[in-house]
């Protein structure tokens, strides 16, 4: 009977209590860790959004422009924005815009009109030529100084005017859709993120197109075909080390290797993508090998016993089962590549690029480099624009990971 009683002794119950307490402590610690990470994330996103929201806005003057006064006209057949701008510039549109501000809001306000404001009018005319008749009101950007004055940040001499126009609702900050369609500029009121975003998209396409197939094939070969000997051990160690090499070294490699072969392609997404592919590939190889290793041998045996050839075993069974794991590695590698600045600086993607790249071989910059460049500027406008660019980068990252996770879940469900 004494054996039954051992679970009822006070000593046993005390031990039991201790065990539950330890379990509770462990759970609390885990919960604390998660809460801490969430808090950091919320803080980061919160400050980013708070600071960055201003970067998506700009200060504009509400100005009526009377086109009938001068009688502008478009040459027949011209509809392209650039050509329209040139034609209207020749006919005196900049002066008309300047004069309209002066008449409506006074000389001092006209002096603070952004020198590129007339281009916005020209763009809208290009879309709707009927605007050239009658009087229409435009929201036109102001100078960086005046925008700062409106925000109450320096330029005390301009602040009374800014306050007065704001009270009349002639000057206000509004959403700047152009930020998402313009490219880099020297004036923070005129900059946009599209050039860098497009550069990032093109670079990522090159990276993915190179790193994914090469990484997966390398992983498959190493796991499925390569004999186990000193050479494959060496290759394995090299690949593991490659994944740990500081990214700037890859930039040097890209500089020496790719720019040596294609010297006229400085700053091109193609070169940037190839450089980042070098960096991403080892991550995919390592994740891919682990995913392939995790495929149960019994599945291979089953397929082989049915008479499947080695290639069929790999492509019908091993690869589909390993794909979710491979995709996870790809997400990690691509996310790292997207955020990478240093190697791209090495291959010249830090140049001032005012037009979005037309293709893989045009000079371009990418989001993180753009952020780096803007963060170096001292104008208040650039500070806000930098935060806005970071938000764009984070959204792009979220989108990319979302797609990869969607694909991963899709393949997981199928099996």
């Amino acid at each position: 009977m004494s054996e039954v009683a051992t679970t009822r002794t006070p000593a046993f119950e005390a031990r039991l209590k201790k065990r539950y307490a330890a379990e509770r402590r462990f759970r609390l610690a885990g919960l604390g860790a998660i809460l801490f990470s969430v808090a950091v994330l919320v803080f980061l996103l919160g400050t980013m959004t708070f600071n960055g929201i201003g970067g998506f806005q700009r200060a504009t003057l509400s100005v009526p422009v009377d086109f009938d006064q001068v009688g502008l006209s478009l040459p027949p057949g011209v509809s392209d924005t650039g050509a329209v701008s040139r034609a209207l510039e020749g006919q005196g549109l900049p002066d008309l815009v300047q004069f309209s501000v002066e008449r409506a809001l006074g000389k001092q306000a006209a002096a603070e009109l952004n020198s590129d404001a007339w281009r916005l009018v020209a763009e809208q005319v290009a879309e709707d030529p009927a605007l050239l008749q009658g009087t229409h009101t435009f929201d036109l950007p102001v100078t960086e100084n005046f925008a700062s004055a409106l925000a109450g940040d320096g330029h005390a001499e301009l602040q009374p005017l800014a306050r007065q126009l704001a009270a009349q609702e002639k000057l206000e900050r509004s959403f700047d859709a152009g930020f998402l369609t313009r490219s880099d500029a020297t004036d923070p009121q005129q900059v946009g993120i599209w050039g860098a975003l497009k550069g990032s998209i093109l670079t990522m396409i090159v990276t993915l197109a190179l790193a994914f197939p090469i990484g997966v094939l390398a992983a498959l070969y190493l796991e499925e075909y390569a004999p186990r000997n000193r050479w494959t051990d060496l290759i394995e160690v090299s690949i593991n080390n490659l994944a740990a090499v500081p990214s700037i070294i890859f930039g040097l490699l890209g500089l020496a290797l790719f720019l040596g072969v294609f010297p006229h392609m400085r700053s091109a997404p193609l070169i940037g993508g190839m450089t980042l592919a070098l960096m991403t590939m080892p991550v995919i190889v390592i994740a891919g090998r682990n995913a392939i290793k995790a495929v149960p041998p019994s599945i291979r045996d089953g397929a082989m016993a049915l008479g499947a050839s080695p290639v069929q075993v790999v492509f019908h069974h091993v690869l589909p089962l390993a794909l979710p794991g491979i995709l996870t590695g790809t997400i990690i590698g691509m996310a790292r590549a997207l955020g990478e600045t240093a190697p791209l600086l090495m291959i010249g993607m830090r140049a001032f690029v005012a037009t979005p790249p037309d293709g893989f071989t045009n000079p371009a910059t990418v989001l993180p480099v753009q952020i780096f460049l803007w963060s170096d500027e001292i104008d208040r406008g650039f500070v806000e624009r930098t935060s806005a660019a970071i938000i764009v980068l984070l959204l792009f990252l979220l989108l990319m990971n979302g797609v990869a996770i969607y694909l991963r879940n899709k393949f997981e469900k199928k099996w």
Partner: protein, 259 residues
């Protein structure tokens, strides 16, 4: 030492087959004839080389880098280790069912259809459907799964999974089916179902079954080979082996003195 082994109509014939893992010998000079009309059982204590020998019969040992096979193994009089032998074709003719049920993580239909598809056995969807149904019927699984062919094969019970694996092997119309302890992971009821199934399949295919259960060997087989320490000690009619073994070691094993 071996009776009944040199009949000219044997489906598979092995002569002095030895298998090595590196320097370690796992199977030692085994000569045996396997007939289409019988179920042949391999019995013996674990580690005596039954699985190794079985895997030599459809060259599954090729996948183990250290494994080496010596001697001669013939299928219909042709050496299966000759260089011109196509392993893919050999494995289509000599199917295998494993100890642990290993259905592909695909639908039940796809599990069966996979083999016929890679070997081009069916022209069009209808023929493939017919093969799938016939194979599942033969494996006694049709009535249980006919309404959920698109469900995953891994969602079935252990016994159903093993019958699915047998159906999968049958679907490529093999001549020989090798089974390596097919019931060792199953409960008694599922085991009985598989044993019934083996009995139904007898005569259509040459069946070789490795088992550690002597009762099972006695129930399903007509020929039994007793292995011990890599050697085949005795081979003959199942009833003779169990009632009247000629070798002392066989007698010790079947009376439960070791194993």
């Amino acid at each position: 030492m071996v009776t009944d082994s040199s009949s000219p109509d044997a489906k598979m014939r092995t002569r002095d087959v030895s298998v090595f893992y590196g320097a370690k010998q796992a199977v030692d000079s085994v000569s045996i004839d396997i007939h289409s009309e019988y179920v042949t059982a391999f019995i013996g204590p674990s580690g005596c080389g039954k699985s190794t020998f079985l895997r030599a019969l459809n060259r599954m040992n090729d996948t183990i880098p250290s494994a080496r096979v010596e001697g001669c193994i013939e299928l219909d009089g042709e050496d299966i280790y000759r260089s011109s032998m196509d392993v893919v074709q050999l494995r289509a003719r000599v199917g295998m069912v494993f100890q642990k049920p290993n259905p592909f993580p695909k639908s039940i239909y796809e599990n069966i259809a996979y083999g016929p598809r890679i070997h081009g056995l069916a022209e069009g969807k209808q023929e493939l459907d017919a093969i799938v149904e016939k194979s599942l019927r033969r494996a006694g699984l049709w009535d249980e799964v006919k309404d959920r062919l698109s469900d995953s094969g891994t969602a079935l019970s252990g016994g159903q999974q093993q019958r699915l694996c047998i159906a999968r092997a049958i679907a490529v119309q093999p001549e020989v089916i090798l089974m390596d302890e097919p019931c060792s992971a199953l409960d008694p009821i599922a085991t009985a179902r598989i044993e019934e199934l083996i009995d139904e399949l007898r005569g259509r295919y040459a069946i070789v079954i490795v088992t550690h259960s002597m009762q099972q060997a006695a129930r399903v087989s007509q020929r039994t080979a007793f292995f011990h320490l890599g050697k085949m000690v005795e081979y003959g009619h199942t009833s003779d082996i169990f009632t009247n073994p000629r070798e002392e070691r066989t007698k010790d094993y079947i009376t439960g003195r070791y194993g």
